[in-house]
Symmetry: C2
Subunit: 280 residues, 2 copies
């Protein structure tokens, strides 16, 4: 199949590597000619260009630009396409993306591969980034069954755990397990910085161990990505933050009141509930 | 050197394994005779007993019982000891331990190896658990220099990063980087459980990935340990929780007000500050 990929960063590059290895013809588009040359030289794509017109013959196109650039990219892309071309994206928020693209292009299927690393850019792209990870597709009422089928078939070849959901349900779900953790974790790092005694702060930094490392990881990640989550999934994120603050208040009250029995029950429940989120 | 170890669980067993390999004679005490037999059979200790009188000849004794059992154990232990015997413990909170033991036994040096695993018990004990990890000793004014020297010498043999601090500074520091993360992380798991739509909760559980896994890890850990932290380091933990809630409120306000520029600066700071806690 002729597959187009717009944006040859970590996601686009990794998709290209896997799909090309599966025998697809990969047409890559990047705004930077250096990235195009690198992608061709490293065999990531079959061919590449800075011009979206390269994708005129593509049957399916994966939109892998940053969320903020997505709508403008689609506007420029549409004039080059045959009406049967299928578009899909890899953005981590789905309601605003689907609302922006679906009215302009019916053959669009929102998508979100739940994979990534700390790094970004084509140099960070790797084979099997998506294998064994969740991949959510978010068709809506007007999405043609054939478009969903085609994207499903391609995505399944990546050995992902496929989930189909509405864009709204997707955004609610990722607010809990992806966007809320970023804010919870960032707040932890920022709070520690509030220790007024420099000597104690230094000791804390020196003895911080795997617990702090893990709890603070996503809060110390890419700031642009964090802003993007908050910006495009604001209402859902705020909803989860309100629920989170209630839990925090409850924990603080239990500790203030020295209600160790209820605190132990609380922590028994979190110990018991956590594996439900890790059962893959 | 003749080294006694009271409590042959993860910490005591791991200490015994390393110290014995270094050529010390290890006298182990456990309340359960099955554990004593197992420790001898597996070569974890030189000899073991359920009787604290076994430690009459020990030069240094590591107290490795759970915090809640520590004071009672010391009471029972003291009548068996020569006055020059040095005691040290491995509890993760130091002020209450030092306040309880130091007035009863001058040759006591509070200690806290910052190591552990999800597991507990002698079966989880392993070599090199402490190597490359922080180990805090918390002498006070009345601690004899010779006792500190002896414990320091032994602990250094484990290839730890040794830190000397007051019990108060230790407890403040661990509140930030060890005890606060447990509550922050537990609150995250509990908050997710508040999603009222069962289908969305199920989707969230299905697509949760490494971000959720890491941020929720310590909140899904041993409930008794969490209660113990809160119970014995209550004032310091509450102090960090208040600072944390302020950060959370600030984040929520930025998102509510759509102040993306300040949010990005906030997340740039947390990205920049995190490595200071992981520089080991």
């Amino acid at each position: 199949m002729k597959i187009g990929i717009v944006g040859l960063g970590l996601m686009g590059g990794s998709l290209a590597l896997d799909l090309r290895a599966l025998g697809h013809e990969i047409l890559g588009v990047s705004r930077q000619s250096a990235t195009c040359e690198q992608a061709i030289a490293q065999g990531v794509v079959t061919t590449a260009s800075t011009e979206l017109s390269l994708l005129a013959e593509a049957e399916v196109i994966f939109l892998c630009t940053p969320l903020a650039a997505l709508t403008a990219t689609v506007e420029q892309l549409l004039p080059h396409l045959k009406p049967e071309t299928i578009l899909t994206d890899v953005g981590s928020v789905k309601v605003p993306v689907v609302e922006a693209i679906a009215p302009r292009w019916q053959n669009f299927v929102g998508g979100h591969p739940m994979a990534g690393t700390d790094k970004s850019g084509l140099a960070a792209a790797s084979r099997h980034l998506f294998a064994g990870r969740p991949y959510v597709l978010t068709p809506i009422e007007t999405t043609p069954e054939s478009a969903l089928q085609t994207v499903t078939t391609i995505v399944r070849q990546l050995n992902v755990f496929l989930h189909i959901s509405s864009p709204q349900d997707h955004d609610r779900a990722v607010a809990w397990i992806s966007h809320l953790p970023v804010m919870v974790s960032a707040g932890l790092i920022a709070a520690c910085g509030q220790e007024p005694d420099a000597q104690i702060l230094k000791l804390a930094q020196s003895i911080a161990s795997s617990g702090f490392r893990d709890t603070s990881r996503v809060g110390g990640g890419n700031p642009e990505l964090g802003v993007m989550m908050a910006r495009y999934n604001r209402a859902e994120l705020l909803r989860t933050l309100v629920a989170y603050r209630q839990q925090l208040d409850e924990l603080m009250a239990l500790i203030e009141q020295q209600d160790w029995e209820t605190l132990e029950q609380y922590l028994q429940r979190t110990q018991q509930d956590r594996p439900d989120f890790l059962s893959k």
